[in-house]
Structure formats: C-alpha cells, structure tokens
C-alpha cells in the first residue's frame, strides 16, 4: 500500500531505466522519456538509478498517500500541489499519510516524475517495470489503482542547485551523430536538414516524434529493415524526420540520417507540438564522454 489513484490523468505510467536486452525478441527498450529528470529524482532520494517512478504526462493527476513517505518530483512544472498548496519540485519532501498530491496542467515542460524512496514496487515484466502500451505490456494508471511502495522517513533535505535547473521553454538543438545512412545523403540534403528549424508535430508520443518542416527530396526511401537505436532519425517517404524514442519498434526500413544524443532527447521529451527544433553534428567521442560523465554521476550501470 502506498498511493491510491483518485485521478489517473491523461497518460501516467510506471517507468524505469527500461528493458535493455530484449531486442532479439522484437521488444522495445521502453523506460523513462526524460532520463535527466528521472535520474535526478532517484538521486535526490538516494535511490538506485533504476528505481521505478511514475511518469506523468500533461498532468490531471491526483493521488492519495496511504503511508508516510519520502518523495521527490522532478521534471516539468505541472502545478504540483500537496493538499491544495503549491509544493516544491527538484527536492525530496516528507509526506504524511492521507496527504493528497496533485498535478494540474503543464506550465513549463510536459513530463514530470514522481519518485518514492526505494522506488515503486509494481510487477517486473520481462526484466523491467516499464509500461509499454504499444506492446500491451502493463496498463496506464487508472482510477482506484493502488501503487505499492515502502513507507519511508527521516532523510536530510537534498535538492537540485538552482543554477542547474533546466529551462524547458528554450528552443532546443539536438546534437546528431553521423550514423547509419548519413553518408548516403547528399550535401544539399544535409544542408537542408541542418539549416532549418523544424517544428514538433502533433504526431509526437513515446514511440516517436515526427517533425514538420521543409521536406528533403529523397529518391529511395525504403531499404532492408535493420535494428534501430534509441534516437535514430528516419527520413520518411514524405521527406520529413521521425525521431525514434523509447517505445519505438526494434527494426525498420526507412533511411536514417543519424542518431540524436540521448541527453538531448531528454530535452525533447519536454516539448509540446509546435516547439522549434534544430539539429547540429556531434562526434562520437564527445557523445561518449558526456554520456559516461552522466552515467558516472548518477551511478548508472546499464549492464547490471
């Protein structure tokens, strides 16, 4: 026992770091869309990096605490309140039995994470607690669900230093590794791709993010299907990019112009339709250096 769902919201699902070794079975990676906010939430609670959290998209959620618990909310500002009073995010908080937690509507960003000390103890499905609606693995939050976790108390205050708080309202630049079929795109195609500001389209979910903009003229659009990594950018038949995200299929046959650096995808996870997005090139050494630094800080061990 730990939380009872009064209002489930638009799209709220339990997620963790994901299902990392099921590619051969055609199963998506799944897991949190914003690894940055997720990792901070677990870090501030001194949790394991992989502890399961509640990913709340857009808000509309109300939960009642059934125990005293230490919690931490990180990510989008969705008007988080405790018992009707605005409450801080990006810091650990002690809540009491019968407290009501609520998230209203997006103010800055769209996805926020509720972490509890020790993590949510929902069923482990194929090695992960992550829900994947496309694959019918688990279900989204529903009214009267009970989310189990352990009672907890007695932690010192821990919070994110204000100067490191992300600003989700800035336009974003997605750094792209020149992977897959990058070399088969011509200079003029690349110039069009890297020079324009795309916009996030309405077709934007946990599977992928389609962008609107000036289409790239392509002669050949399909190839033999191959494994697609997280963040790879397909150029679809209409010449526009689709960025493949956590719930994407494992293989596909569109040409891919590159792969977006994972920590930039965390920023994309906070964007609404119509947000401006640009691409710039990144080299593999820089990407590995930055990601390794992130993994070491948060003690992320993907092979554990």
């Amino acid at each position: 026992m730990s939380f009872k769902v009064i209002k489930p919201g638009f799209l709220s699902t339990i997620q963790d770091y994901g299902r990392l070794c099921h590619g051969a079975y055609g199963m998506s990676q799944s897991g949190v869309m914003d690894e940055h906010a997720f990792s901070w939430a677990n870090y501030l609670l001194e949790n394991n990096f992989n502890n399961a959290v509640l990913e709340i998209t857009f808000g509309g959620v109300e939960l009642k605490a059934l125990d005293d618990m230490l919690i931490c909310v990180c990510g989008a500002d969705l008007g988080f309140k405790i018992n009707g009073q605005l409450a801080p995010i990006w810091r650990n908080i002690q809540i009491k039995k019968s407290d009501v937690l609520s998230w209203n509507l997006p103010i800055h960003g769209i996805r926020t994470y509720l972490a509890v000390k020790g993590g949510f103890e929902t069923p482990v499905l194929y090695g992960s607690r992550s829900i994947n609606l496309r694959e019918n693995i688990g279900t989204k939050l529903a009214k009267n669900d009970v989310l189990s976790c352990q009672p907890s108390s007695g932690q010192l205050a821990r919070f994110m230093v204000p100067q490191y708080l992300p600003n989700y309202d800035h336009d974003i630049v997605l750094r792209l590794l020149p992977s897959y079929q990058y070399d088969t795109f011509s200079d003029s195609q690349k110039i069009l791709f890297f020079s324009q500001s795309y916009r996030v389209s309405q077709a934007n979910d946990r599977t992928g993010c389609r962008l609107d903009g000036a289409p790239i003229a392509i002669k050949k659009d399909k190839m033999i299907s191959e494994g697609m990594s997280y963040g790879s950018v397909e150029i679809a038949t209409n010449g526009l990019p689709i960025i493949l995200l956590k719930d994407a299929p494992t293989i596909g046959g569109y040409l891919k112009i590159g792969t977006v650096f994972s920590l930039d995808l965390a920023k994309l996870a906070q964007k609404q339709p119509n947000a401006k997005v640009k691409f710039e090139l990144m080299n593999i050494h820089q990407a590995q250096k930055e990601r390794l630094k992130f993994n070491q800080f948060f003690e992320i061990e993907p092979n554990s």
Binding site: Y25, M27, N136, S179, Y180, G227, S229, L292, N295, P302
Partner: protein, 227 residues
C-alpha cells in the same frame, strides 16, 4: 563483405551482406551468440535483422573504436557456414477460409488461382525467420512464392485479430496479438502466440524455420477457433 558502422552513442551495426540471403539469419544468430559469450560484460543487447546485427555496449567498458576493433577481430576469425545448419522447425496450423482470411477472396481473384492452389503454395514452403520486430513475437518469414506475393494494403486495418496470417510482398507472418496492420490476411491460426503466455517471447529466433499446414473449418471450430 562485413562492415561495421556507427548506430548510436553506445551501439554499432554490423552488416553481413547487402541482400536478403537464406544463409544469413542463422550465421548472424551464431555470430551474435559468439559475441555475447566473448564479451558478456560489455555487450548489452543484440538485435538481429535480415542482413545485420545491432549491438549495444556498455560505455564504461569500451569506447566506440575499442569495441569496433574487438568486433572486427572476431568477425575476421569467425567461420561462417553456407550449408543448411541445424535449426528449430515450428509447425503452425492455419484455417485458410474467407471468414478468417479477410483478403483471401480478393487475392484469389487477383491471382486467378483456386483456394486449393493458394493453400498449397503457402503451406508447402518451408520459411525462414529473417527477423523479429514490429512487435514482440512478430516473425518475418521468407520467402513467399512469387505467385501469391501481394503488396501491403494502401490503408492499414485498425484491428487485425490475433493469430491472423498475412502476406506482404515476399514475406509472410502471424500477428501474435490483436494489432493494427497493413498485411494481406489469408487465414488464422489457433496457436496462441501472445504474451499472455510469457514463454512465447522465445517462440521464434532468427534462423528458425516455419512450416504452415492447413486445417479444416471444422477442426478450427472444434479447437475453439472463432470466425
């Protein structure tokens, strides 16, 4: 022939050929096993497909150049086989009927062949699992006889019932669970391939073989089939 390219900040893609070839799936599966065994602490995930293998690895154990060089060394010393190798053979019973095969009547007219001929052409072939994807347990099987090949529907269906058997170009497959999709549906199996049975996750592996066989309407109904 083999080529290693960058796929992501912690992944590479290995090409084993540039066209679909029946010797590739088993060879790729064997290579994937060898790689996993030799680098069990470095390799995170392996995703085989028709001609390639996507490999993700632990950044804290190897950099892109280090890992690519290690993989190249194994590739150079690996013995790929041309001959038919031992692999699982999976039998799948199908009721090829107009009630379950939503596109069957149209295909017969388009191809100008009888139902019996169609069933014969689809079920006499032993197929190879070239890839698994689209959704879990969805195995892409090849190759379908040219006489019954058909392109995907222009407009995918919103819901295709679990167990439906479809054709798309030279590929055939079974939909393991209810899903949307654009394949030409020619029949349905009673075999439960859904993840309601978690062991189904490992039902198909690339390189396995699949043989369909026809069952009658009565057999289909007797064992609980729905129309």
């Amino acid at each position: 022939m083999h080529k290693i390219i960058l796929a992501g900040e912690n992944s590479i893609l290995i090409y084993f050929g540039d066209k679909i070839d029946n010797s590739l799936p088993k060879n790729i599966a064997n290579f994937a096993n060898a790689l996993k065994n030799q680098f069990s602490d470095v390799v995170i995930d392996l995703t085989p497909s028709y001609t390639s293998l996507l490999v993700s690895y632990d950044l804290s154990k190897a950099s892109y150049f280090k890992f690519s060089a290690d993989v190249q060394a194994i590739l150079d010393g690996f013995e790929f086989s041309d001959s038919n190798q031992q692999s699982n053979l999976i039998h799948i019973p199908v009721y090829y009927g107009f009630e379950t095969g939503l596109d069957l009547e149209r295909l017969l007219a388009e191809k100008n062949i009888s139902l019996d001929e169609f069933i014969q052409l689809h079920s006499s072939n032993e197929y190879l699992v070239h890839a698994i994807g689209f959704s879990p347990v969805f195995a892409f099987l090849g190759e379908v006889d040219i006489r019954i090949q058909a392109p995907r529907l222009a407009t995918p269906r919103i819901k295709i019932p679990a167990g439906s058997v479809g054709i798309a170009d030279s590929q055939t497959a079974v939909y393991p669970s209810d899903s949307s999709g654009g394949w030409n549906i020619i029949g349905r199996t009673l075999l439960d391939l859904s993840l309601d049975k978690p062991e189904n996750l490992e039902k198909f592996k690339t390189g396995d073989r699949v043989q369909f066989y026809a069952i009658t309407r009565n057999e289909y109904l007797k064992f609980g089939g729905e129309l």
